[in-house]
Subunit: 524 residues, 2 copies
Amino acid sequence: MPKEKESKLSFNLKTPKGTKDWSGSDALLRDRIFTTIADVFKRHGGTALDTPVFELREILAGKYGEDSKLIYDLQDQGGEICSLRYDLTVPFARWLAMNPDVRSMKRYHIAKVYRRDQPAVSKGRMREFYQCDFDIAGTFDPMVPDAEILRIVTEVFEELGWNGRYNIKINHRKILDGVFQVCGVPEDKIRPISSAVDKLDKMPWADVRKEMVEEKGLDAAVADKIETYVVQKGGRDLLDILLKDEGLTANASAKAGLDDMGLLMDYLEAFGVLDKISFDMSLARGLDYYTGVIYEVVTEGSAPAVSSSAPEAQAVQKSGKKSKSKGGNLEDDDRSNDPTLGVGSVAAGGRYDNLVGMFLPKAQIPCVGVSFGVDRIFSITKARIEREKSAEALRSSEVDAYVMAFGGKGFTGMLKERMSVCQSLWNAGVKAEFSYKVKPKLPQQFKAAEQAGVPFAVILGEDELAAGKVRVKEMGLEDGHPEKEGVLVDLTALPAEVKARVAKKRGESVSDVTQQLGDLKVDA
Amino acid sequence: MPKEKESKLSFNLKTPKGTKDWSGSDALLRDRIFTTIADVFKRHGGTALDTPVFELREILAGKYGEDSKLIYDLQDQGGEICSLRYDLTVPFARWLAMNPDVRSMKRYHIAKVYRRDQPAVSKGRMREFYQCDFDIAGTFDPMVPDAEILRIVTEVFEELGWNGRYNIKINHRKILDGVFQVCGVPEDKIRPISSAVDKLDKMPWADVRKEMVEEKGLDAAVADKIETYVVQKGGRDLLDILLKDEGLTANASAKAGLDDMGLLMDYLEAFGVLDKISFDMSLARGLDYYTGVIYEVVTEGSAPAVSSSAPEAQAVQKSGKKSKSKGGNLEDDDRSNDPTLGVGSVAAGGRYDNLVGMFLPKAQIPCVGVSFGVDRIFSITKARIEREKSAEALRSSEVDAYVMAFGGKGFTGMLKERMSVCQSLWNAGVKAEFSYKVKPKLPQQFKAAEQAGVPFAVILGEDELAAGKVRVKEMGLEDGHPEKEGVLVDLTALPAEVKARVAKKRGESVSDVTQQLGDLKVDA
């Protein structure tokens, strides 16, 4: 846009700070990710819940601790005082409290939330961003819904084509609390010490220990005892080791947590996903409201750079192998703006049995859930597609056929004929476009089809059409290909022919964004 | 909820005034409507655009006339001054102005908009509601994209199963302006007189005439001359009559409008939808920004009650037949809170060639578009489903199979076996659930399946499972049905068997909400 035009505008032509427009191939890919995730949720009996974008301010009050300062308030224009929602969990708890007949529910919600945080758009930290939540509310036998949530997590990432390239870390608040008690952490220091442990994914132990001892006044011997536990990770083997730790199992909280973990592992095995989970004693999670199992999903490329000393040692310590270099267009986003997501994670959650009680003191409803960081999942998936496929693969529309015409001297443009052919394709459900010019030139039409990445041209010629025929040409065929000039098809058979060719091409090719998630799944 | 619990809450447990939660079968049906509409948009090459829920306040300023008082402002918490979006059209124009490389675009946007209007929840007039817009931006040959928009409108309502039970009224601003000039309306009265004409869908001519003459000071003879035009409706026949009106065709504006209308009818014929359109000279549309063709879709049950005198005469005059009684749960919602929708209409739009220029004075981008009133479409569709199907048809989830177990004395509950069977179903893409109890009773499991409207039970018995078999039972079969007790199936063949039975049942039945829109289409 030339400078002189800009200068005549009396206002800023932009979106508000920390917000963005989604358009073109990004919008299409993002919608594919939403659909993929929602399909998994529905497969598990999830029902959609959609709440208003703003809530009464008193509903949000007292739920987010010091982050409450990040809540967007609506101006008082008379009437009720409202604020934009900060997450999807509090509105869900509010809904459960308002609908006391519903004592159990599997709900999902994919929507934007709002935080007046300092944005870092290049790092993907926004003031308006999407959350994508699945929660199971209700009183059930222990660990059964918890196991299904973790099964859902694996299905989502498999459907997204990540093909095992992610790690689900799990731990249990009761085990952690038991460990802290057994090690001798005073009761009033348990939450601060837990917060310190939670930093082990971005700090080496030495720094965490320093925080515990110097900042939080923990006895050094206690800190050293904590280390012996929180560096441990594994699977059933680790559980067996802990169950043999008589000091630990004598603690009621730890014992309850370990029993839960044993049940959970049994159930994860029945669900066929135990091998995708790692029991990680250092996982503590930031939010206070978790009461049971907690989990966090990290992937290749989603772990942040470690900015403190001895990063190599830390990486080895934390993951058992060197940390992978960051992939794609993810920068060192060392702080998620989503407290339900840990550093560098793409999904996280846990059991929170006391939240609904904040709205309905006498009718507690236990809940367990997971939140997917879709903006980060989008960035990683897009980077992966760009790395593995050609850039043209990312189209902004899904059109299958471009209907065009050509002719010699006295060419009329055949507009109504093109419209009529489009009609027959639309009637058959084929996505089709044509030029809005009365007399378009053939090269213009081919260029438009190419630019939109449309795979097939349907070409009308006057003589051929008079004989009831049209030409179907696959775009981008190499010289010498037997069908380079297209094939003549009966007009009546055109919709079926185009549908068959589109289906065949999808089966063969990876160049269609509508297939990209599925394709990645197949060839990853 | 007992009173004593409520009284202990220190806050109102509700959503803000004029907003609501969407849950259960309503949320599912609404999502099906969105998907149906979006699929049509994509079939025509539409690309998704998603803009922030709030805009800089100066972007919205001066776009909505006196309705600007209905805009929700965000509180000034430091930084930029923002407001919630009032519609999706201004954000689209802002986006086009911000992206000067994009000179043409077919964009769709389904999202909530916000208006601090006096809500009437029972009448469906909300402060937060959905809009569903498709617009074509760009400079093209006359009436080609306009015709495609109208084709899209017909496809949407056909896909929604309305099966011709709607009427698309069209008119042209240039024809109307020409009529007013020819009749002798002074230039400064043309917009007010046009607004009066627009009320003909809720007032008889006598009242509109009174407004023109008494309130707006129009000469009575001029008003009477206007009447001879604006009561006319028809198709090509009406166009032919007007083209023979030499007084009218001598007016440059009217002539240009009539030429457009002729082209449009030719194109609508090529698209196979001319018979669905009626040329209605009384259609004027409220918004000032339309510059060409305008349209509005009404349906059985969407027309409001006529509250003034002589309703019968008016109804006959307006539609050529007696107005239908209002259907379903639509009340006499005599005012849409959406100025892009006329009274009682379910979709509306037109050409607006000058709006983008408000953001980019030197780079005008002509646009034509349509907005679907999805909340009203939802109400009508839901009422139709409830009228035509049983109430149970409206399910809140889409689960296909409930996996249950039973046993005699010493029954373990077979939890892991149920989990494992669910796993095999999920792996095959079957939507499946099971009880979260370790030892559920069989009647409890059947009740849960029944309540959720799940069509198939998969029943595990200890002896049968030992022989590698499970029982598949269709729910709700009558006594005496040969498969009343279910059929035994090899465990390995279970996923394929359930998929086949689900597909078969969908083909036969109308009891699944996932099929309801399609079903209505088939049997309407």
